[in-house]
């Protein structure tokens, strides 16, 4: 009986988690709709400078700057370094942008 209750609770948890994940996907789909693409050169420059600053603050603490790789490779490398170097979410966003442009 206890085992059945436990199994039922687990199933409920999985269902709730699946619903939460679906909600996440929906939110991403909404955000993928065409947005205004005209960004000022100054804004791009600011983002690049911020990315460069964060790269030097975090990555250069341990190793020399790597060459710039294709974005899909750099996405993997930055994800690895996010875990290893415990980068913040903002650091990852700026550094990925800086290293892929």
């Amino acid at each position: 009986m206890k085992l059945k209750s436990f199994s039922a609770a687990l199933v409920m948890m999985v269902v709730v988690f699946a619903l939460a994940s679906a909600k996440t996907r929906d939110a991403k789909d909404d955000s993928a709709k065409p947005a205004a693409t005209s960004q000022s050169t100054q804004h791009d420059q600011d983002l690049r400078l911020e990315g460069e600053k964060r790269f030097h603050s975090n990555c250069s603490r341990c190793h020399a700057a790597p060459p710039k790789f294709p974005p899909r490779m750099m996405g993997t490398i930055v994800r690895h370094m996010r875990v290893r170097a415990m980068l913040t979410d903002d650091d990852v966003r700026y550094i990925l942008r800086y290293m892929t442009q």
């Binding site: 994940s21 790597p66 060459p67 294709p70 899909r72 490779m73 993997t76 170097a85």
Partner: protein, 358 residues
Amino acid sequence: MKKYVLHPWKLTSVYCLFLFLMMLCGGIQAQDDSSLAEVKPVPVLTGSTAYFTRVNGGKVQDAPTVSPLLLLPIGDHLLIESKAGLSDTFSKNAQGDYAGTVSYGMAYAQADYITKYATFTAGRFTTPFNIYGERLAPNWIRDLQGTPISVPITSGAALGGMVRGGLPLGTDKVHLNYATYFSTANTNHILATDRSTGGRIGFFLPGPRLEIGASFQQVLQQDRPHAVGTHFEWQPNAFPLTLRSEYTRSSGTRGSGYWVEAAYRLSQIPHMGATELVGRGQQFFAAANLAPAVAKKLGPLGVDTNEGDWGLNYYFGSDVRASASYGRQFALGRNANLWTIGMTYRFVMPMWPTGGGL
């Protein structure tokens, strides 16, 4: 008074519930986490190879090594990463023939579930204690090839679960990074780990590029020693200097020690920008009243040692580096000169079409 007995299945269900809630929090937080979704990552094979000749107290050894690291991203939040090591250490024997020992191992093989403020890791991973093991150990990163004597004081690998992450503390001027883990015991000769728990906390100031932190490790087997550690790292903005230091103290037989390292890149001197000068000083204090047999079994951790090292690194681009160093070791009854010369190469290659760009 009624006594409560916690059955194993109850404990398991509580643990499952805790993990589930943490995952749920991560899933909901991921709604505004677009950084990982912007680029669809591909599997990557990276790592390093190295060849070093070492002279330790007149004994010459050559050691080629290769350390491949496979990164396999899945979806927006998962990463599988696995790093292995293979090395052959050989030298001339009394007959003039070369004889060597091949050694291999699995540094880590872990699955990471990444959310905005926390990463949940399961598998075999590097123990989060101070900074050397996790950040500086790869031979293409470390400024001096010799590992500090105090690093093996703590258990360096774990098999179990870990929660870690980094986040700004209210302001972007101070970042907190944290890691906590639990490891089970494993007696496999390649994958050996201790049953232990612990963690690390660090405060990083991105402006002055300064980090200070502390670590703790409690071994839960045999004589159950614990260890505490502190680390420090600073890169002044005004000149290309890196200062690092660690201190570790164990309550068991493995003693205590510290090291301080400075690396200066000669980028302010014309034509010398690819050259780096390095110096490191360290002291190790063996535990008191060690029985001779125990001291012998502990090897370098069984005897008081002072050591100073000086090195030179030259960077051929970003992936190839030549290194040379000299050190003088003062150990009880065993002073020695330590010479090292060699090269490292860091490689990165995609394991799937990248679609170009850059």
